[in-house]
């Protein structure tokens, strides 16, 4: 087996509390099921408390990669929050990067207290589009979804996009192993919703 580009570098980004770690855990476990070497670098600790977070996920058929993607080397970015997607692109993006992003903003406290500005989301998405190859927008909070499953919904979108060489079935198998039976059904629903959302565009 070979990847079109090896290693394939994915960044999942959002705000602490959105469930970045679970999202990266799912896609990485699914990758290992496909016989890939997968490395996931996480941000934990203080940044978990409402700060900017990102997970670097690297797939390779050759070797175990280091846990940090070098500057400008992200192939795919999944943004659970639009401004965080842009923050990641400024450091790790390149003209070939492909983005899947939720348009729902979460305001930093600097914005709430008036010291910083959060421009309109449409404008943020425009800036993203200027810098990368494609931007696919996936809504995560329609008709009263549990907002906590937005991370898993976005993994569904990633699986459905075909950007990573991992079949949807492997994602679901990984979820069955990682999630507690109590949380599994809700999360599978969110995941399938994500698959659907990206396919219908």
């Amino acid at each position: 087996m070979a990847l079109e580009k090896d290693p394939l570098n994915l960044i999942i980004t959002g705000v602490g509390g959105q469930g970045n770690v679970l999202a990266s855990h799912i896609v990485a476990s699914a990758g290992i099921r496909e016989g890939l070497y997968v490395t996931v670098g996480e941000t934990y600790g203080t940044s978990q408390r409402g700060g900017a977070v990102m997970s670097h996920v690297r797939f390779s058929f050759q070797a175990q990669c280091s846990p940090l993607i070098p500057e400008g080397q992200a192939d795919i970015v999944v943004g659970l929050e639009p401004m965080e997607a842009l923050r990641v692109i400024t450091a790790f993006g390149n003209p070939k990067t492909k983005i899947i992003v939720s348009p729902r903003p979460i305001y930093p406290i600097g914005v709430l207290s008036g010291q910083a500005k959060y421009p309109p989301v449409e404008e943020v998405l425009g800036k993203l589009a200027d810098l990368v190859d494609t931007v696919q927008v996936v809504k995560t909070t329609e008709d009263g979804d549990t907002p906590l499953a937005a991370n898993v919904l976005m993994m569904g979108a990633l699986a459905g996009s075909g950007l990573v060489p991992i079949p949807i079935g492997s994602f679901e198998e990984a979820m069955r192993e990682i999630l507690s039976p109590r949380d599994l059904e809700t999360n599978l629903r969110a995941f399938r919703k994500g698959v659907e959302a990206i396919r219908t565009g």
Binding site: G45, G110, G114, K117, L131
Partner: protein, 633 residues
């Protein structure tokens, strides 16, 4: 089932570095395990505790790292295999015992795991704990991959038993908290029986024991000479060799590949970094004329290699060494592939450009001018926001320019906007009350500022009790505020002596904070910080006369609370909120700083972001118009 318990030898699974360390201990048949939580090490014990019953070994969250190491050593002295885990600051706490147990020696395998935090991603320092291995004359291993984290830990037990010393393993954040492939091995069946025999005494015939310790270390060096954790890749006899350890290995390999230098640059990867496998290193540097050392934080490997090169100068001839001392790599912060590639390119006279210059410039400008910073903050519903607000208000009411001595926990965020910039000192576990002891004794020097020491519940048990006793004994003017949220929240809500459960989730006796305070003889009150007005009033009251006092602000961490009960709906009544006409200066969204409250630009009113809000309702008690409504769910 926990991934740690999978009994399928040969299967490749995704494991966090910390899980791999725990699995290594299980594959060594560990009998006894202890730890105090601390990022990035906490998941080692979390993983072990989850399967302790299944495998029949002992696991505990200890009250601090000193007890953790001592308890684990007792198991070792009784012939059992024991592991103890902590973060870098924990090594300082247990160093007194570490620097004597090296002299007494140990019996059953004792593995001492330290999670260092280069860049201090979740720490108050970035000390390089490898220095303790040299300081205490203990063998040191540094895993470079997830697989090695597991395999080294398993082997460390054997080494410890053969040399009769604790064996130290140094992980770093980028290994402990990353995930990767780990191929599982067999889990042995152990019949365990403990018995203490003989004696283990450090303080008698110390110079003789110290000399014996050096001999044991030489024995470890001999084992390291043939270790499978040391290897060389690249052309034989390369003139340019990177010598690296730990996390530096993967970054170095990728940097060499990125610059296309595979043919010219060899990499010597050392897993056993103290004492150095000297013959192995010399053998691989015979043709080298230039060496770049790649490691995280201190030039530890660099200095030890330089000593070796000086000693071997006749054999090896002159070798130019690059690294932290030459300024090519930093002796602070973490490293990555880019930093190694830039160092390598600089030395070799090459150009390394991560991406197109124009693109990088555009992106960089956007990052600086367009993307707002997102600092970490207290979670919506966090009791610390209310507690620190109450402290701020009480100190303001008091009017004598009082201040807060900080301590280690989630509430350390009080150094910044999340906690209204209230914490004016921040050092290590227990330092808040310790410093407050001194500030509280400065009255004779015309010092009249009241001092509040904050500390969390886990920190109280860990390191703050002697400070409080001192304040009572010497009659220092200190108001200690214990921010009791029911667990060790910062690191993932591990239990502590006041929690009522043990590491395995079984019921445990509760050691009461207020009972300890009463026994010490200080005035103690227990209040709910969500009753903000009352909290402010009583704090103010306690500040008005001298002596040592304790206020316990008790309210469970909302991350835990919200898992246990339905979320109330909180919303702003648009009829009652009068926006900027109120004169509150947008108190709820702009001043109180809860990310769950936003400002609706169109309606010019406050608005609750229901996706973010956890329903704690404390804002409803603070709104001067009573415009925020809480509907129980």
């Amino acid at each position: 089932m926990s991934i740690l318990a999978i009994d399928q030898p040969g299967r490749s699974v995704l494991m966090m570095g910390n899980e791999a360390i725990a699995r290594g201990a299980i594959e060594a048949g560990v009998d006894f395990s202890t730890a105090y939580p601390g990022t990035p090490s906490s998941e080692i014990m979390e993983s072990l505790a989850r399967v302790a019953e299944h495998f029949g070994f002992y696991a505990e969250w200890s009250t601090n790292e000193m007890v953790a190491l001592e308890a684990a050593a007792a198991a070792s002295l009784s012939g059992l295999r024991a592991i103890v885990a902590m973060k870098q600051n924990g090594v300082n706490v247990c160093s007194d015992f570490l620097l004597t147990v090296n002299l007494s020696g140990t019996k059953g395998g004792l593995v001492f795991v330290v999670g260092d935090d280069p860049s201090a991603i979740s720490s108050s320092n970035e000390q390089d704990s490898r220095n303790f291995a040299r300081f205490a004359d203990l063998p040191l291993l540094e895993p470079a991959t997830f697989q090695e984290a597991k395999d080294m830990t398993r082997w460390a037990f054997e080494l410890s038993e053969r040399v009769g010393l604790p064996c130290m393993i140094r992980s770093v954040t980028r290994l402990s908290h990353s995930r990767g492939n780990v191929k599982l091995a067999e889990i042995p069946q152990r019949s365990r029986s403990a018995r203490f025999e003989g004696s283990y005494i450090a303080g008698v015939f110390v110079p003789i024991k110290h000399a014996e310790l050096h001999q044991k270390l030489e024995q470890a060096r001999e084992e390291f000479e043939g270790s499978e954790f040391n290897w060389y890749v690249g052309r034989e006899g390369a003139r340019f060799v990177i010598v690296t350890s730990g996390s530096g290995w993967l970054y170095s390999r990728e940097a060499v590949a990125a610059l296309g230098l595979d043919e010219e640059v060899g990499i010597l990867k050392i897993g056993t970094t103290w004492p150095l496998p000297e013959r192995f290193i010399v053998d691989h540097l015979r043709q080298a004329t230039e060496v770049l050392i790649v490691e995280e934080v201190d030039p530890f490997l660099e200095q030890n290699i330089k000593i070796l090169l000086a000693e071997q100068a006749k054999t090896l001839g002159p070798i130019e060494v690059y690294g932290a001392r030459s300024g090519h790599l930093p002796a602070f912060g973490d490293i990555n592939q880019d930093k190694v590639a830039r160092a390598l390119a600089d030395i070799r006279g090459l150009e390394y450009r991560a991406r197109d210059e124009q693109y990088a410039k555009r992106a960089g400008e956007l990052a600086l001018t367009y993307v707002p910073p997102r600092l970490p903050t207290f979670c919506p519903g966090c009791p610390h926001r209310a507690s620190l607000w109450a402290i701020k208000a009480a100190l303001k009411l008091d009017g004598r320019d009082g201040f807060v001595a900080g301590d280690i926990g989630c509430y350390s965020l009080g150094v910044g906007p999340a906690g209204f910039w209230q914490l004016k000192t921040l050092h290590c576990m227990g330092a808040g009350i310790g410093l407050a002891n001194g500030f509280g004794q400065l009255g004779q020097f015309a010092f009249d500022q009241p001092v509040v020491a904050v500390c969390g519940d886990s920190t109280f048990f860990h390191a703050a009790i002697p400070g409080l006793i001192n304040a009572r004994f010497n009659n220092s003017n200190v108001l200690m505020v214990v921010l009791d949220n029911g667990g060790t929240a910062m690191t993932g809500f591990q239990p502590h002596p006041g929690s009522g459960t043990d590491a395995l989730g079984r019921p445990a006796p509760v050691v009461e904070i207020e009972a300890i305070c009463k026994a010490i003889g200080v005035e103690v009150r227990v209040r709910d910080p969500f009753e903000v007005d009352r909290a402010i009033e009583e704090l103010y009251d306690m500040l008005q006369d001298g002596g040592a006092k304790v206020m316990v602000f008790r309210r469970k961490c909302f991350l835990v609370e919200s898992r246990e009960k339905a979320k109330p709906r909180v919303f702003v009544d648009p009829e009652k909120c009068i926006g900027d006409e109120c004169g509150c200066a947008r108190f709820c969204s702009r001043v109180f700083n809860c990310p769950g409250i936003i400002w609706d630009q169109e309606a010019k009113r406050a608005k609750i972001d229901e996706v973010v809000c956890t329903g704690c309702g404390v804002c409803a008690t603070l709104c001067p118009q009573g415009a925020i409504v809480v509907e129980e769910g």
